[in-house]
């Protein structure tokens, strides 16, 4: 009854993807950093930063605000060289990376006038807008368009043979929504990639329906153009890390495994988006008797495990110098626990990143938790999320100031994230 069974039952038709241009591929971002790969990990639902990166010097007041939620002091994982913060016990793999100078955090990331709506706030993070402004293209797409100028017209070409971005899952994302079309190819981990044949001849175009059909046809054509490079990459046999859990048990690990396969398979795409869902823990976020267990603990463990396996894969295939990852969520959560031992929507959150060439350590300071926290209190904003992403583009991709401001308009201070 599974989808895979269905796929097996369905007849396969011969597909005729466009012939791959055999010229040398050099599908690079600015500055010739053609091997670099960025994997963004979206934590969907709003991650509780205070139980992820725990401010030890605020422990007493924090315990008062969330007595049955806060991780017991003796269970918090210490971080090498940083005595006043620790990690959720589920993040063992991330602690190891941090201690080995392969990871970093930025504290207190968000934006002014935060929205507490999942949907609006996700849109803000993905489109790179300010709180009150609505944008309809993704910040990453706007950056990619400075390289894949006029996409999709003329792409792929000799210099850019592979898709600008890959979204893992069954749905596209605002992050990669460009001016005229989605700049990503969507790949579902549980289903083989298919590129359907299509008649290139447009029917009616002078109507609302015709315009819609035109968009569908464009996606088909574009998918077909990338079919051979994708099939080649996906068809590569990879001996994955032994650390991966059984498929279907950790959705993030399953997704990152596909990313690892594509990287190993030689795909030149440099930007990926994966996600982990379920962070909206209004209720029973942690087990009252043992706060190291429960819904959020399971997610922390999945996050850590997913990244650990993926990182092991990158080392096995010798790409650890090229690849970096970063997490983000639409918001953090409230300081105070609610009656259900969960947390309501909050504002700022710590961002986590990893890779061999990242700026290891912690940027920003611990949030200050006073001793009379009420249900409405939120963490202070230290860094605008656009400062983080803009710095990432500059340091990781070597983006020019003009390209950064194309992607993320506004003036934001630079933060050290990547040792470019």
């Amino acid at each position: 009854m599974k989808r895979k069974t269905f796929i097996k039952n369905a007849a396969l038709t011969a597909l005729l993807p466009y012939a791959l241009n055999a010229l040398t591929a050099c599908n690079h971002l600015a500055g010739g950093r053609k091997n670099r790969v960025l994997v963004l990990i979206q934590l969907v639902g709003g991650n509780d930063g205070l139980n992820t990166l725990i401010p030890l010097d605020q422990y007493k007041n924090l315990l008062k605000a969330r007595p049955n939620l806060l991780i017991p002091e003796n269970k918090i994982l210490p971080l090498n060289g940083f005595s006043n913060v620790g990690l959720h016990p589920g993040l063992g793999g991330i602690k190891d990376m941090f201690d080995n100078k392969l990871a970093g955090f930025v504290q207190g990331v968000g934006y002014e006038n935060p929205s507490y709506s999942h949907f609006r706030s996700s849109d803000i993070w993905l489109t790179g807008s300010e709180s009150s402004k609505v944008l309809y293209t993704g910040w990453m797409a706007r950056y990619l368009e400075t390289i894949f100028n006029g996409y999709p017209k003329g792409f792929p070409n000799a210099a850019h043979t592979d898709p600008p971005a890959i979204k893992i899952g069954d749905t596209g994302t605002y992050l990669f929504q460009g001016t005229s079309m989605d700049m990503s190819i969507v790949i579902d981990p549980s289903t083989p990639f298919e590129a359907p044949d299509v008649d290139t001849d447009a029917g009616e175009t002078d109507s609302f329906a015709g315009q819609e059909v035109k968009s569908i046809r464009e996606i088909l054509l574009q998918t077909n153009k990338y079919a051979s490079v994708l099939k080649k990459a996906l068809g590569t046999s990879v001996e994955h890390s032994k650390l991966y859990p059984k498929e279907g048990t950790n959705p993030l690990a399953d997704q990152l495994k596909v990313v690892a396969k594509l990287i190993k398979g030689g795909l030149q795409t440099q930007v990926y988006l994966v996600d982990l869902k379920g962070f909206d823990n209004h209720d029973e976020q942690a087990d009252k008797k043992d706060p190291t267990k429960g819904a959020h603990a399971d997610l922390m463990a999945q996050l850590s495990q997913g990244i650990t396996c993926f990182w092991d894969d990158m080392n096995r295939i010798g790409r650890e110098q090229d690849v970096m990852g970063m997490t983000f969520s639409e918001f953090g959560r409230r300081i105070m626990a609610n009656a259900g031992n969960g947390t309501d929507h909050g504002s700022s959150q710590p961002l986590f990143y990893f890779g061999a060439n990242v700026h290891a350590g912690i940027t920003g300071s611990n949030p200050v938790i006073n001793d009379n926290i009420t249900a409405n209190d939120n963490l202070a904003l230290q860094y605008d999320y656009r400062a983080v992403f803009g710095s990432l583009l500059k340091q990781w991709a070597g983006a020019s100031a003009a390209a950064v401001s194309e992607a993320l308009p506004g003036n934001f201070p630079e933060i050290k994230i990547f040792n470019s």
């Binding site: 269905f6 999942h118 949907f119 849109d123 289903t191 447009a202 996606i219 209720d283």
Partner: protein, 526 residues
């Protein structure tokens, strides 16, 4: 760009032309073919709407009849909807069963809008059954949506506010005096009633005050009902912002505390934005995703007035919209991307597919539909979030969110599975698309050009290019010398109905021909 000619809710009248009737049926039923056309033919638009707006009778509860499930508490042939909760393993099976059953209700839709509107409300008033994790609660949720699908919206919101599934899903059951949980109250305002249009200015404090109004409710696993606990209810007065005219909802104690919800809903429904928000969503569901200033002023605003005047009865709004000049404007033909249900069930209804007689086999078929439609990113029972599916709220792409490099490939795989010679394997049982029967319903099947044109008229809401049409025709004419050969073949079919080889030859041509139609980008539209 062909312009919209009418921005008027003035009703059209009389018997609809075939193309108008097809438009109405495509948008309101999940797919329409000869069967629907025959049924609605020669009826006036008023009569059509009478039929469409008639609530379908309640369906029998899902039965435990899966031989693979050894359920000690529920014998085969009876239903688990009132049975005790057993364990997660068993409940997961029941939930899957429930969702396949729901798919079955959609597939078995009669000529009513009930199922289409049940799905609309599912997308609007969301619960995710895999988060609720109690099939009996899930059943009560689905039953609630279906009961009010064409009924009263305010009543639906009231029931949903304390529906057992909803209490679990949005933590209403953990919302008590001194420790409010604002999850439900926030979504109540943002997603279920007022929306987030620029003119909606409720405050964070309003969200919190509403949470206090809603405090004290819990679900009860034993009785499978909601219960109100006065001792958990916040009995203080609740002050709302100027957006709500500084209204104060008086705190009530004892059993009376349960009545505060009604005061809250009265206050929220007094704001016209609630009616406007729902009317915009209905418009996007039935007409087009685009709402410009003209549509807002001339269609949405009057519809909202109708909604308010009729005390939030849903049918009058739908009657006004679906019977209007604006709805039938030629500009909107085929401009909505089919959602996965409309795509897969739609094809099934177009060809009037008959399912196996045995209940068990039919259920396996429903499960096949449920899983594959889920594979196309529309898991019935589990929208991706409390906001529903992206296609209905994420501007400006809206319906285009259904389409990406992955889902298009998967849609075409499904189409292919529908024209296999041996039939479509649905987890064991097979269903067969009888393309010959479909083609024989046309009077002029012997004229290959007419067959192509008439088939496209019924099946495809968007005109295709001559080039594509010729390719389709070539499928029918493969290895034939002329169009006359096709006529001869067609004549032989009726002259010698027992000639198996002729029948097989024609059937094979038709199978690939209709498959070709289903694989066109234009077929994704309705």
């Amino acid at each position: 760009m062909s312009a919209v000619l009418s921005y008027s809710l003035a009703p059209v009248s009389g018997v609809l032309k075939q193309e108008d009737l097809l438009h109405l049926l495509r948008r309101t039923l999940f797919g329409a073919g000869h069967r629907e056309l025959t049924y609605f033919k020669n009826k006036t638009v008023e009569q059509c709407l009478d039929i469409l707006l008639k609530q379908s009778p309640a369906a029998p509860a899902p039965l435990q009849d899966d031989p693979d499930i050894q359920d000690a508490l529920v014998p085969d042939g009876s239903s688990w909807v009132n049975a005790p909760y057993e364990n997660e393993d068993m409940d997961k099976r029941r939930r899957t069963y429930l969702k396949a059953w729901w798919m079955g209700q959609i597939i078995n839709r009669d000529y009513s809008l009930s199922e289409k509107m049940t799905l609309f409300w599912h997308n609007h008033y969301v619960t995710q059954l895999e988060i609720v994790k109690d099939s009996r609660y899930g059943y009560r949720y689905v039953t609630m949506l279906r009961a009010h699908a064409l009924g009263n919206f305010k009543q639906l919101v009231r029931e949903g506010a304390t529906n057992v599934a909803m209490l679990v899903y949005l933590n209403g059951n953990n919302n008590s005096k001194g420790a409010p949980n604002e999850n439900f109250s926030r979504e109540l305002m943002e997603l279920f009633t007022l929306g987030k249009a620029p003119d909606v200015h409720y405050t964070e404090a309003d969200v919190k005050a509403a949470a206090r109004v809603l405090s004290g409710w819990k679900d009860d696993r034993e009785s499978i009902t909601e219960k109100f606990y006065p001792e958990l209810h916040d009995t203080a007065d609740k002050q709302f912002s100027p957006y709500f005219n500084n209204e104060i909802i008086k705190g009530r104690s004892g059993a009376d505390g349960a009545k505060e919800i009604d005061a809250l809903l009265d206050m929220i429904f007094k704001r016209k934005e609630t009616a406007e928000f729902v009317c915009r969503n209905l418009y996007r569901w039935f007409v087009t995703a685009r709402i410009d200033e003209q549509v807002e002023q001339k269609i949405i605003q009057p519809l909202a007035q109708i909604f308010i005047q009729h005390h939030f009865e849903i049918a009058p709004v739908l009657r006004a919209l679906l019977g209007s000049e604006h709805f039938f404007d030629a500009a909107f033909r085929g401009c909505i991307v089919k959602n996965p249900v409309e795509f897969f069930v739609g094809a099934t209804k177009q060809f009037a597919i008959v399912f196996p007689e045995s209940t068990i086999e039919t259920h396996l078929c429903w499960a096949h539909y449920y899983f594959n439609i889920g594979g196309l990113s529309m898991s019935i029972g589990d929208p991706p979030s409390v906001a529903g599916w992206l296609a209905y709220y994420q501007a400006p792409k809206y319906h285009q969110w259904w389409i990406n490099s992955y889902t298009l490939g998967f849609r075409m795989k499904i189409a292919e599975s529908l024209y296999l010679a041996e039939g479509t394997n649905c987890n064991g049982p097979k269903i067969k698309f009888d393309y010959l029967r479909f083609a024989l319903a046309f009077k002029n099947g012997g004229d290959v050009n007419k067959l192509v044109d008439e088939s496209l008229t019924v099946l495809c809401a968007v005109k295709i290019s001559d080039h594509a049409k010729n390719k389709l025709k070539a499928i029918l004419l493969k290895n034939l010398k002329s169009e006359k050969d096709w006529s001869d073949l067609w004549s032989k079919l009726s002259a010698t109905p027992n000639d198996a080889s002729v029948k097989e030859d024609v059937s094979n041509r038709l199978r690939l021909f209709f498959g070709g139609i289903m694989n066109m980008p234009e077929y994704q539209m309705m």
